[in-house]
């Protein structure tokens, strides 16, 4: 590998630092901050950048996450791009303003380095903390490595600030395993990012700075009566923004990113060698990186296995799931949360489709429990066994096993 000298723009940084780099490149003006491990490194890195004069922004640190999200909403309504990084308990603390942001159509971005819900007081990783917001009309990205965190953040700003979307977004990644893991990351040049990501402009109706307040308050008095009749229409618009326009904008943002920077992450989901796959591993987040290796290894042995990475939990990539599993006989769903959400979602997406595959839900790697390529291989073998016998039993199970001393990985 030594023959290719690393490009000067490649930095070895952690997931949190990659998130901070992305915020810097997006020229955020407001940095919301409330410390909670493993997320706080994002805010700390941004403050260091400000000290070095690389970023012109203001830090808002308030008494809790709820206040910070409220401040972020207000800043965004004033036409300023902002960022905030929190997780588990912090997100739940901000429960109310999170919903408020979605239904007021305020495009805020929150980075989440996944962390388990309490009790016990653990700081280990678990997707549970954002998937409980699956019904809040937030866009949710799951990233597998620091490079994807950086790229996705830039894409996310582009998507949410589109006037036909205007929804908040979670950019999430595994706590510790991505947030504190050092990887080589290609940091794009500022002028390329400026070309890709236009400055933040609110539509005139939502721009609180350009707004005529006398007219606004007059309108609102009337509107608060009027919305009683239009509540359903409002919710319909939000749902269309997420599941209609949002879907296409996410794919377009990724394609445009590929055009400008030369790499993409597959829009709503990535299909990896699924064309003729008999068994497909369905993953989210950094489990996908390991699954991709395992697919390569098993393919080299002539076993038809593929991988589908669900990149956005919301909007859910229904079409991608269907096309990835069209030829498959078994889908093995690797859930990194205690409620088997992927299992529910994928099965719902497949319902009523012709030639449905067997679906095996497997809860794996909660709290940073080791997941080795040996484990992944065995999960795939379980899929082949189910394909052979035609029985997918048990439907959902928890995988406690870890590779032992002497096991070959």
């Amino acid at each position: 590998m030594a023959e290719a000298p690393p490009s000067t723009r490649v930095k070895v940084i952690t997931g949190n630092e990659a998130a901070a780099e992305a915020c810097r490149l997006a020229r955020v003006k407001i940095v919301g901050f409330f410390p909670i491990g493993p997320s706080d490194e994002v805010g700390e890195s941004l403050v260091q950048m400000m000290k070095r004069g690389e970023l012109d922004a203001r830090v808002i640190d308030l008494e809790n996450e709820r206040s910070v999200v409220n401040a972020q909403i207000v800043a965004t309504q004033a036409g300023v791009r902002s960022c905030f990084s929190t997780n588990s308990e912090g997100l739940v603390f901000a429960y109310q303003p999170l919903f408020w942001a979605a239904y007021a159509r305020v495009p805020i971005l929150v980075h989440v380095a996944h962390r388990a819900m309490e009790p016990p007081t653990m700081i280990v990783t678990d997707d549970h903390d954002t998937i409980i917001f699956r019904d809040a009309h937030w866009i949710q990205y799951f990233c597998e490595n620091p490079q994807e965190v950086l790229d996705t953040t830039l894409q996310a700003y582009r998507v949410i600030e589109d006037h036909e979307v205007l929804l908040p977004v979670f950019v999430t990644y595994a706590g510790w395993e991505v947030s504190h893991s050092s990887f080589p990351v290609e940091v794009p040049a500022q002028e390329d990012v400026d070309r890709y990501l236009p400055p933040f402009r609110l539509p005139p109706e939502l721009d609180f700075v350009a707004m005529d307040f006398r007219e606004y308050y007059g309108k609102r008095r009337i509107a608060s009566i009027g919305w009683v009749h239009e509540y359903m229409e409002l919710r319909y618009k939000v749902d269309r923004a997420l599941n209609g326009t949002g879907r296409t904008r996410i794919v377009e943002a990724d394609e445009e990113f590929r055009r400008v920077f030369g790499r993409g992450w597959g829009g709503l989901g990535e299909l990896y060698r699924t064309d003729d796959a008999e068994v497909v591993l369905v993953t989210m987040g950094n489990v996908a990186a390991l699954a991709r290796h395992t697919v390569d290894d098993l393919r080299a042995e002539g076993k038809p296995v593929g991988m589908l990475k669900v990149r956005t939990l919301r909007p859910f990539p229904t079409e991608e799931v269907r096309s990835a599993l069209r030829r498959a006989r078994v889908a093995v769903l690797l859930d990194r949360n205690p409620v088997s959400l992927l299992f529910q979602e994928v099965r719902a997406a497949l319902y009523g489709q012709p030639n449905q595959p067997l679906v095996l839900g497997r809860v794996v790697a909660l709290g940073g429990r080791d997941l080795t390529s040996l484990d992944m291989r065995e999960l795939a073998e379980e899929g082949f066994e189910a394909a052979r016998t035609g029985k997918g039993e048990p439907e959902v199970s928890w995988r406690f096993r870890v590779a032992r001393e002497g096991d070959r990985r």
Partner: protein, 337 residues
């Protein structure tokens, strides 16, 4: 090495700096060898003074850093107490992380010579090295407990020569600009000269067997009590306590009656009682140091500055009861008096 992957494991107590060290190592390996790097952190708990294990993988193909290191060629132990944890299998993750080293380099932060650490409690062949990094780092950095990561890095590179020391020190200066970086660089250079190396160590104590492999679902206990008395890391006399200093109280200065702000602010609920001025209580104070992690928050909030941190050994010499230096291993949890 597995499939052309070089694996390095760092085991420390939180606050000793293995995560920052891992980041520096990853940067240096990428810069010098241009290979794919990936690192993984196994965090302890939210509190201070719990074990943290960091894994680095250097490979010719993109790294999926989601699992521990299974065949490390180098293990750096940031505190020699962790070797006793291995011996007693007191912490599954730490025990496995260290005892998976079959051959290669084991570097221990310890005041003793390498030969004094033998025999090691697991099968191991290779090089054993020690350096008193805590002492060096404390002297250069003036912090207690001292972060010893960069110091140990200097010692490790002096032995393996896997990376150019100068390159790593430049990264240290970039990461910690100013005096902190310079102090770390000086500490690393001193450690690289003072490291004691013992080659050709063969230790055959058998395999440490840890029940990290989980139980079958039906064998799991009916419920897990989420009680401070029984939770790992909070257990009385926990093996995970790592500290150099404990708070002591000068009774003559202590003037608050009945309410102690320090006690209320203690993040670990050590529940210490300042008895001066309370009628009927015996003189002196008692801090339940089994729980104390030496975070010195109590000292900072003490209204009359009656509390101060003193080295634990000195506190024992002065006859304060309830203080032990040896990490606690294996005793069953008991209710406090």
């Amino acid at each position: 090495m597995i499939g052309g992957t070089k694996e390095v494991t760092l085991a420390c107590m939180s606050g000793q700096g293995s995560v920052q060290t891992m980041e520096l190592l990853a940067k240096a390996y990428y810069e010098q060898h241009g290979m794919y790097v990936g690192s993984l952190v196994f965090p302890g708990s939210r509190s201070k003074s719990t074990p943290v294990v960091s894994y680095l993988k250097v490979s010719s193909r993109p790294v999926a850093a989601i699992s521990a290191n299974y065949e490390p060629s180098e293990v750096v132990v940031f505190w020699d107490g962790l070797l006793r944890v291995v011996e007693k299998a007191a912490h599954p993750v730490v025990t496995e992380a260290i005892s998976r080293l079959r051959r290669g380099l084991l570097l221990v932060n310890s005041a003793s010579a390498p030969a004094d650490l033998l025999p090691l409690p697991w099968n191991f062949e290779g090089t054993l090295a020690t350096v008193d990094a805590s002492e060096i780092a404390r002297r250069h950095l003036g912090r207690n407990p001292p972060p010893v990561g960069v110091t140990l890095l200097g010692a490790s590179l002096a032995i393996t020569r896997a990376l150019e020391l100068e390159r790593v020190l430049r990264l240290v200066r970039e990461r910690f600009p100013g005096t902190v970086g310079e102090a770390n660089v000086a500490a690393a250079q001193e450690a690289s000269e003072r490291v004691q190396v013992l080659q050709g160590v063969v230790s055959a104590r058998g395999q440490v067997h840890i029940p990290l492999a989980p139980k079958a679902p039906e064998a799991l206990p009916e419920w897990y009590p989420l009680d401070k008395e029984t939770m790992p890391g909070f257990r009385q006399g926990s093996p995970y306590i790592w500290r150099d200093e404990v708070p002591i109280c000068e009774d003559t200065k202590c003037l608050c009656k009945h309410t102690c702000l320090s006690e209320a602010m203690c993040p670990d609920n050590t529940g210490f009682i300042v008895r001066a001025g309370i009628e009927g209580a015996r003189q002196g104070y008692r801090i339940d140091v089994d729980y104390c992690r030496g975070c010195r928050i109590c000292v900072e909030v003490c209204v009359y500055s009656a509390l101060q941190m003193v080295p634990e050994k000195e506190a024992i010499a002065r006859g304060y009861e309830g203080i032990t230096v040896e990490p606690y291993l294996g005793k069953q949890p008991s209710r406090r008096a």
